[in-house]
């Protein structure tokens, strides 16, 4: 029964190679952290924050913000299949496709279609996929338009600490099908709504018994944290996950991006 267990593939390398590899990994991590943690845009009265914590030295999660010429804030968050160096390389490819897509002045769904077209052949060749959630927030109307390519929808908690329902939406992962089509959904945010974008590393964090953190726990936690600033929410969630996993090695990259609208308009 079940004799075909994974075999240990670790091979010894020479010490000089170890040092070179360690140095290059450190440099790669620095590059990735700088690209991910670029200056946060200042827009409207919003309080915005984002962080990515790779499971290994570098990771395959991605998030980005860009202010569009029409004054909207474009947000993107994604998860490249896999971890470590291969995923990090594809994360850079994803970032390039996103930045290039901004030239098309497209909606979130059209942006995903443009990105899928530009990345499909490479991802097919490499046998990989990327899940993405793209959203535009209009600070004038508070409309949040979002589209998903196989990525978890954001969680929205209002100032009364209630979760707001979003229209369920699914879409094929980037790299899944050559001509994937995506749809936009729009919700109008209210004063002090908190929008929490995330990758599955949060809800799939495991404790020592293999139990998952899961979505309901995250939602309940966000309800209790709603009145904090976004960077404090970020910190508290990291603390809560650390407490839950209790020293168990992080298996997947963890990324969260938080938008609180009209934060200064009390």
């Amino acid at each position: 029964m079940f004799k075909n267990k994974i075999s240990d593939k670790n091979k010894r390398v020479n010490p000089e190679m170890d040092i070179t590899l360690a140095r290059e990994m450190k440099q790669a991590r620095n590059i990735q952290m700088k690209l991910l943690n670029a200056t946060k845009p200042e827009i409207g009265n919003a309080d915005i924050s984002g962080v990515s914590i790779p499971a290994r030295l570098i990771g395959g999660d991605y998030f980005d913000f860009q202010t569009l010429p029409n004054g909207k804030l474009r947000i993107i968050i994604g998860d490249v299949m896999g971890k470590g160096i291969p995923a990090a390389m594809l994360m850079i490819l994803t970032r390039g496709a996103f930045r290039s897509s901004l030239e098309f002045k497209a909606t979130p769904s059209e942006t995903l279609e443009v990105m899928n077209r530009s990345m499909y052949n490479d991802l097919k060749t490499l046998g990989s996929f990327v899940t993405l959630l793209c959203a535009d927030w209009d600070p004038d109307t508070n409309a949040l338009t979002y589209s998903s390519a196989g990525h978890n929808l954001p969680i929205i908690v209002n100032k009364k600490s209630k979760e707001r329902e979003l229209v369920k939406q699914s879409g094929v992962m980037i790299g899944g099908l050559a001509d994937s089509r995506y749809i936009d959904q729009t919700i109008t945010l209210s004063h002090q709504d908190m929008v929490f974008f995330y990758t599955d590393g949060i809800i799939e964090a495991q404790d020592q018994h293999g139990n998952l953190f899961r979505l309901p726990r995250l939602v309940e936690l966000l309800k209790t944290l709603h009145h904090f600033k976004t960077n404090e929410i970020e910190y508290s969630i990291k603390e809560e996950i650390d407490s839950f996993t209790n020293g168990i090695m992080q298996k997947d990259d963890i990324t969260m991006l938080i938008l609180k609208v009209n934060e200064n308009d009390k």
Binding site: F2, N4, S7, T131, M173, G210, K251
Partner: protein
């Protein structure tokens, strides 16, 4: 960690998987599981004892199904739990690998 047990019948190869399907299964899928299936005509994979599939595991599963389909091997997967099916739905996995691959309880 993923383990599997093979049961060969006249009609098909039955593969019973046990454990989590994640990034750590890269070698077992490509070096053991696919080679074990590649010369068959019909393969049925049982997921009764697979409780968790992460995004990397989804990629491995897609790779496995596509590799077998490219060789004209019929593959079906049965007894997928609700948590995993929910992720399949989010990622639109049936559209990518073919809805006939997943045997769902009505």
């Amino acid at each position: 960690m993923l383990e599997f047990e093979k049961i060969k019948t006249q009609r098909l190869l039955f593969v019973k998987c046990k454990g989590d399907l994640d990034i750590e299964c890269e070698e077992i899928v490509h070096e053991e599981l696919i080679p074990a299936m590649i010369h068959e005509k019909n393969v049925r994979v049982d997921f009764s004892n697979v409780h968790f599939v992460d995004s990397s595991g989804m990629g491995l599963l897609i790779s496995l199904v596509k590799t077998l389909k490219d060789k004209d091997i019929n593959i079906t997967i049965q007894n997928i739990n609700d948590d995993i099916l929910e992720v399949f739905d989010l990622l639109q996995i049936p559209q990518i690998i073919g809805s006939d691959v997943l045997l769902l309880e009505s």
